[in-house]
Symmetry: C3
Subunit: 141 residues, 3 copies
Amino acid sequence: MKYKTTKQGHVIKLERGENVIETLTAFCAENNISVGVFQGIGAVERVKIGYYDLGKKEYFFRDEAGVFEVASMQGNVALVDGKPFIHAHAVLSRCDATCECIGAHIKEAFVAVTLEIYLTPLDVSISRKLDGDIGLKLLDL
Amino acid sequence: MKYKTTKQGHVIKLERGENVIETLTAFCAENNISVGVFQGIGAVERVKIGYYDLGKKEYFFRDEAGVFEVASMQGNVALVDGKPFIHAHAVLSRCDATCECIGAHIKEAFVAVTLEIYLTPLDVSISRKLDGDIGLKLLDL
Amino acid sequence: MKYKTTKQGHVIKLERGENVIETLTAFCAENNISVGVFQGIGAVERVKIGYYDLGKKEYFFRDEAGVFEVASMQGNVALVDGKPFIHAHAVLSRCDATCECIGAHIKEAFVAVTLEIYLTPLDVSISRKLDGDIGLKLLDL
């Protein structure tokens, strides 16, 4: 993982084999970023991707071993238990002739080729708090 | 709908049942935001999603009743008839084991779980104006 | 192509028939933007879209003649051989009743209806450099 910091935000390159969520979380912790937003493009593999089942109040995840292009990644950073927590969604496209997409919440993913992230820190304090009706830790604004 | 304002932009949480486009439009009107850009992730339901048929010069929309993850949402704000107008595109993924995506222009959507938006106001005046060749109100730059 | 410049970034409208990557590249060159990030929505046609095959160390591209909505576009600008180079990924949805998506790296695309881009220049110098292991010019941070 390498990065350059600009006046507006951080340009981050995640490298082959790195755990996307863990590496971004560590970056935020080390740089005192408690709140922010990001976007990213690249390619990942060994992905746990899924959705929240509102009826069952639990996530469903599927495992994808192979390489996908990250056609889109969007996410944010907010505090959970006082530590930066990454919430990331992505659209992944199959690396075959179809270029078909799957998408949703990214629980885990490892960089396959490269992942180019642009992260904007925000000068505000925002935590996530359990919403009993929804069953998730939502932004507490 | 709840929000926090930072130096750079607004972090907005739309809540279960809220009309996405109407709520964002009202937020912009109340906060004197006439131009801006946004991104968002979350989950929505009762969606009207579709595309512009350039040959027929009309939109085609399909209705989706069920819940979809918002794998990606991008949009902008500009003035139409002197009022803020939201132009939003999204990639929605099915909340089933396929995680398959549909995408395009969002005419209407209601928040299913949560929708986390980051909106950057821009300090410029931009209106939309009917382009006769295209048949749509495009950005008048 | 038309644009308005704000304190934060550039709002750009690409017009029907324009080559997306070439036009953005020329815009960056003319405005001395060597590094930046962007997002965009609209519709394109005559697209070369594809993925990087890490095993073969080469891109595979497919050609799509017809019109697709740009459900999502994200990208960045960095220097290659001292000149601004555009790296863009997109999720494109079929302009038919399915609204199905394909996505990945965009080598070429022409504007079909309009393409509304928001580009943030970044005050830092970043070049791309060939990574021998990966076989691509990655961000040199």
